[in-house]
């Protein structure tokens, strides 16, 4: 009898976290229809130290596509229904300037999360996030200086440019959630660890704007949500 009770207690201890953690996943693919704008090679001839880092010139990244109409660099995130998150993740996100290019082109972060800006080049950069809701700033970063540390307090998609190299362009996606993903080279994304509930999923592309879809997670399941953007040739 005693052993049976112990067994049940042990079973309860083992099962209860699994019940509490019952977590769904939203995954899917971002694609486009139509003809996206042709990406142009970037002329960096004025900055030889950067130009020589690219055997073939890199191109602009306003629309980055993959095989089977996959659309990359799309930020997919929980815009409504997610749990309130008061604290930003402790780990910093990093934005690197290398070969006079921003890596990654689109960087997502939580409001209040530390952002580190690294200059890997032999030239000075002047990073300038063109924030409208957050405070706008621009900082000069000569070669060899330690990473800059910054943070954004409000939710916003911030275009980023370099005041020294006009072709350098990127985006910060400042979100109020840590449930976000950026579509990869097959257009795919995964939002794991979603407790049961009703969510609004938003997909944002820098030139095509946003799309939303609602999804309900009712346990340990994976729901598929696909987004399709209409591409324009110009």
């Amino acid at each position: 009898m005693r052993t049976k009770q112990l067994f049940l207690v042990a079973l309860a201890i083992m099962v209860s976290p699994a019940l509490l953690l019952a977590a769904g996943t939203v995954s899917g693919k971002v694609t486009y229809t139509g003809t996206p704008a042709k990406q142009k090679p970037i002329d960096m001839s004025k900055e030889p130290s950067c130009a020589k880092q690219h055997a073939t010139p890199i191109t602009t990244e306003t629309v980055v596509t993959g095989a089977n109409n996959a659309l990359e660099n799309v930020v997919v995130y929980i815009s409504a229904g997610g749990p309130d998150e008061l604290n930003a993740p402790a780990q910093a996100v990093t934005f690197t300037q290398k070969g006079c290019q921003y890596i990654p082109h689109v960087l997502a972060m939580h409001t209040g999360q530390e952002l580190k800006v690294v200059n890997d080049d032999q030239t000075s950069h002047n990073i300038h996030p063109l924030a409208k809701i957050n405070r706008e700033w621009n900082k000069s970063q000569p070669p060899g200086t330690p990473p800059l540390s910054e943070k954004f307090d409000k939710e916003e998609f911030v275009p980023v440019k370099c005041n020294v190299h006009p072709w350098m362009h990127g985006y910060f996606a400042v979100l109020k959630t840590s449930h976000y993903a950026i579509s990869g080279d097959n257009g795919g994304f995964t939002l794991p660890n979603l407790p049961p509930g009703k969510y609004t999923i938003t997909a944002w592309q820098e030139g095509y704007g946003t799309q939303t879809q609602d999804v309900t997670i009712s346990g340990n399941e994976t729901k598929t949500v696909d987004f399709t953007f209409k591409a324009k040739p110009y």
């Binding site: 004025k46 306003t62 005041n163 362009h169 990127g170 040739p233 110009y234």
Partner: protein, 274 residues
């Protein structure tokens, strides 16, 4: 003591003669001379600068040596000696010097404007290669009209640097702009006149190529132009010589003077990238 001053004056005058003597040692690296001229009009400007250098230099030398001579002669005055004055008073001499220097300056100006006007007042030949130059913080961009020979209209509101639309073209609606070629370097064919149409995107900048003997400001709101013919293939630096902001030190581009065949190939390559 006075004689020592006269000697120092002479030494200073003779040392100042060094840049005058060496001012035409182009490309030697020793003198202040600019690098070798690669333009058809540059020799007239060099000639004019040389003339100015020689005349002003000789006048300077003569004045300094004369001053040294008088200092030497009038030095070591005893306490009871009368102060020596110029015989007949200085008035006539001062007037003569004014007239002499004035007419010299006037002559240099009148003759010099010929060299200048030849570049800035004479219109470019109608068949000159038209290239548009845009200066903006902190880079130059150049635009070629493409196969149709027409520049698409500019729409400042359409400027989108992240999309490499530095000029503000509207290819969606404006057919002329679709084949326009935009480049970060200025490639031109050798021995062909180039008509550079210049405008500023933001603040004042300047287009300066030492080897071309061309320096022209970009003035916001004004469409300015220069024309020139490069005579020697090679790669030369275009620098901004008007303080335009924090990144001014880094505002440059390259002038790439190519043979006609290389230029055609370059243009074709660039056109395919647009």
């Amino acid at each position: 003591m006075g004689k020592l001053f006269a000697v120092i004056l002479t030494v200073i005058a003779l040392l100042s003669a060094i840049p005058i003597v060496t001012h035409r040692w182009y490309g030697s690296g020793i003198s202040l001379a600019p690098p070798e001229d690669i333009s058809t009009h540059g020799h007239a400007i060099d000639e004019q600068l040389s003339e100015t250098m020689i005349e002003a230099g000789l006048s300077f030398l003569a004045a300094q040596l004369l001053l040294a001579l008088f200092v030497w002669k009038s030095a070591d005055r005893k306490g009871d000696d009368k102060i020596k004055t110029f015989p007949g008073g200085a008035k006539g001499l001062v007037i003569a010097a004014l007239v002499l220097v004035g007419s010299e300056m006037l002559a240099l100006g009148v003759l010099g404007q010929k060299a200048w006007a030849n570049v800035y007042f004479k219109p470019a030949a109608p068949d000159a290669l038209q290239v548009q130059a845009q200066a903006g913080q902190f880079a130059f961009y150049f635009r070629y009209p493409g196969a149709d020979g027409k520049f698409g209209a500019l729409h400042p509101d359409k400027i989108d640097e992240g999309n490499s639309n530095f000029f503000g073209l509207d290819p969606a609606n404006d057919v002329d702009s679709r084949d326009d070629i935009v480049s970060g370097e200025l490639a031109i064919p050798v021995d062909r006149e180039v008509h550079l149409l210049m405008h500023a995107k933001d603040v004042g900048h300047s287009f300066y190529v030492r080897e071309l003997r061309i320096q022209q400001d970009f003035v916001p709101g004004l469409d300015l132009s220069v024309h020139f013919t490069a005579t020697k293939a090679g790669k030369y630096e275009i620098v901004c010589t008007q303080l335009c902001g924090l990144g001014h030190y880094n505002m440059k581009a390259y002038l790439n003077v190519l043979s006609q065949a290389d230029f055609d190939a370059w243009l074709k390559q660039k056109a395919s990238e647009q």
